[in-house]
């Protein structure tokens, strides 16, 4: 991480971004995230934090302002390139009740890695599970039977397995107890190259700049 800190390239630039849904308008976002940084957006709920992540991923359009990711403007042409460099962890990691696919946690991980063009390394999966306080027996359980907190940590291990340049984490510790929150934060610090983390509570990540 220290090597990357030297470069200080802006990974994500949020310029006067405003998002609107019908009558609801979020507050204006304005910040720059440099390589190697952890940026913790610590605002009240309803401020549009999750929507901001969705706007970065091109799932919703910002009403005003500009989002620049890896030097490219988020628009129709660039969005697929941009998404390829991002790992997104939504607040509630949900999957369809698929009728045909492997329903186990390992099946889910394998499916996401396939889509990401990453080869499954079971040794790494087990290592990450251990670091996040997850029992490796969960790999054979049905993914949808896992608790929200367990799913969040599976999602975090997927972020590390996918090895993308930017992590967008939406309340990654919202369903975790204090002990597991600590493990999750240590994990993010260890593996994430650059992170934008949304949280409603103080995460105390050293080296992160809070807003």
């Amino acid at each position: 991480m220290n090597d990357k800190l030297k470069n200080y390239l802006p990974v994500l630039e949020i310029k006067n971004v405003i998002i609107e849904f019908g009558d609801w308008i979020c507050e204006e976002f304005n910040f720059t995230l440099n390589e190697g940084e952890f940026f913790i957006l610590n605002k009240s709920s309803g401020s549009g934090k999750s929507s901001l992540l969705r706007a970065i991923l091109g799932f919703i359009k910002n009403k005003e302002g500009e989002i620049i990711c890896f030097g490219k403007k988020v628009n129709e042409e660039n969005i697929y390139e941009i998404r390829k460099q991002i790992s997104w962890l939504p607040q509630n990691l949900d999957v369809m009740k698929a009728p045909l696919h492997d329903k186990t946690t390992l099946g889910f991980i394998n499916n996401i890695l396939n889509i990401s063009d990453v080869v499954l390394d079971i040794r790494k999966v087990k290592e990450y599970f251990f670091e996040l306080g997850l029992n490796e027996n969960l790999l054979n359980s049905e993914f949808l039977s896992l608790s929200l907190g367990e799913r969040q940590r599976v999602g975090l291990s997927l972020c590390a397995l996918r090895e993308k340049a930017l992590w967008l984490l939406d309340e990654p510790t919202s369903s975790l107890d204090d002990k597991n929150t600590e493990l999750a934060i240590a994990f993010i610090k260890k593996y994430s190259p650059t992170s934008l983390i949304i949280s409603h509570r103080d995460l105390h990540i050293k080296g992160g700049k809070d807003e």
């Binding site: 799932f59 919703i60 939504p90 369809m96 889509i115």
Partner: protein
């Protein structure tokens, strides 16, 4: 062997049995009586007209006229499916119409060159009723398939976006919704097919048996019809969904909100 033909008075008196369902509907306060009465009236008028024009279509047996008639039933079929779909007709009508064309033309090809080899499928007395069966029997499954797909699309937005964010193509990200809707559409039809002959005698062979046909010949028609409408319907639903899926998403891979009826 001449079959018995009921006269209109008999039919009118027999139809009085409808008073019981109407009374039960009223009692249960379903608010369905008006719809039911309209449906029954429509059926009466439509069948009366069908009896009338089929008589002439078969008598004249004019191929261009028959093709015009087929175009009409395909478009009417696509319109029926589209208007029951929760989607804007402007969006869903073109894919369904193309789907019906592909499904119908493919299966009728097999009727012309295989089932009716040595006969003349294009003769109006075969072409018109059998084509009506192929398209008519496809309607329910097509409605279910399309409704289910777009309901799934709407319900599973988050998990689809998670797949898209992980690098999945739209095809991959929607494949589970696709599988589920195809299952919803065809499980009943497949179950139905397996019960033919055991629990129910379907319309075609019933009609032929009543008309005096040997049951062992009547089943041949039934087999052709079932194989034909199943094939027609599966092709129709797949083609419609493929086409609809292509135009339902914007350049960001997001489902356009304006495809749904408000």
């Amino acid at each position: 062997m001449n079959s018995f033909i009921p006269d209109w008075t008999n039919i009118a008196i027999g139809s009085l049995m409808l008073f019981v369902p109407i009374a039960l509907f009223l009692r249960a306060r379903l608010g369905l009586v008006k719809t039911l009465l309209i449906s029954i009236a429509r059926m009466g008028v439509q069948l009366f007209l069908v009896g009338f024009y089929l008589k002439y279509l078969i008598e004249w047996n004019n191929l261009p006229l028959n093709i015009l008639f087929l175009l009409f039933i395909i478009i009417a079929g696509a319109h029926t499916v589209g208007s029951r779909s929760d989607l804007k007709l402007k969006f869903i009508f073109p894919p369904i119409t193309i789907g019906f064309f592909v499904g119908y033309i493919f299966s009728s090809f097999f009727f012309i060159f295989a089932f009716f080899a040595g006969g003349d499928f294009l003769d109006a007395r075969y072409l018109i009723p059998i084509s009506g069966m192929l398209i008519g029997n496809s309607l329910t499954s097509a409605v279910v398939g399309i409704r289910s797909f777009f309901k799934n699309m709407n319900d599973n937005k988050d998990s689809r976006n998670y797949l898209i964010a992980s690098g999945a193509s739209l095809k991959t990200a929607t494949s589970e919704s696709f599988q589920m809707s195809i299952k919803d559409a065809f499980m009943p039809m497949i179950a139905n097919i397996s019960a033919i002959g055991l629990i129910w005698l379907p319309g075609t062979m019933t009609g032929q048996i009543i008309a005096g046909q040997d049951p062992s010949d009547a089943i041949k028609y039934q087999i052709m019809i079932v194989v034909g409408y199943f094939t027609c319907c599966v092709i129709t639903v797949f083609v419609s969904l493929w086409l609809a899926r292509r135009s339902a998403f914007d350049d960001f891979g997001q489902l356009k909100t304006n495809v749904y009826k408000v």
